[in-house]
Amino acid sequence: MADKKTLTFALMDAPYENARSTTALRLINIAAKRGYDINVFAYEGAVFLPFAGQQAHPNPVHGHDAEQEDHPLPKEWVEAVIKEAAKNGGKVDWVNCGLCVDERGAGDAVEGVRRGTPGDFWNMAESSDNTLVIPTK
């Protein structure tokens, strides 16, 4: 693909805390649909975005059981964008900051997520067409 691009994103927010993590995954989804190669460096709380232990729950306020509620799980969104990129000829290289994982006990991640270091982020940025840092506050 002549116009195939490689983009790197650095994320920092833990799930369910701020709209930034949702916007980040919306952006990654758009790039995945284009078949771009996508690098993600998840730093600090963002290592919980692909945490495999996330579980859907019922919502008594909505009057929904777990199936009716279909509660969003960021780990499923991460899995979905990885598949979407592959379907369109791209790939997602999702790197969780290893020390951030250790201090949070977030080691159980969905398939396709690997452990890494800040050096990976620099190497990703150097080999990309562009980089966007989405910080926490």
Binding site: D3, K5, L7, A19, R20, T23, R26, L27, I30, A31, R34, Y36, D129, N130, T131, L132, V133, I134, P135
Partner: protein, 108 residues
């Protein structure tokens, strides 16, 4: 001349620092750069034409293209016809377009 994409996710009602980011957008444009200011999340709350906050007009006058994420606008019930002068609704795809172009991208 360089190209910049500035993404503002905060609003001036909650954060004084937004004015500094608007100022950076204007400053970059006045230096001769091509600048897009993309409002997203609560950043779009400044984009209502009746908002008591006029700073976006000055940013537009400095030559900055101001776009507002259509999803964030819909989420907050801000209709396209009710946007402040100089602000246009746009899909989030624009961010990926401009990243792919290699614009220097700064998220605030």
């Amino acid at each position: 001349m360089a190209q910049y994409l500035l993404i503002e996710s905060r609003d001036p009602f909650d954060s004084n620092d937004v004015q500094n980011f608007y100022g950076l957008a204007s400053g970059l444009a006045k230096e001769g750069n091509e600048v897009t200011l993309f409002l997203v999340q609560n950043g779009v709350l400044a984009a209502r034409q009746n908002a008591r906050f006029a700073a976006l007009g000055a940013v537009a006058s400095a030559g900055v293209e101001i776009l507002a994420d259509d999803f964030s606008l819909d989420e907050r019930g801000i209709v396209t016809g009710g946007l402040a002068s100089g602000v246009k609704a746009a899909p989030l795809d624009i961010v990926i377009d401009q990243l792919a172009q290699g614009r220097k991208a700064i998220w605030h």
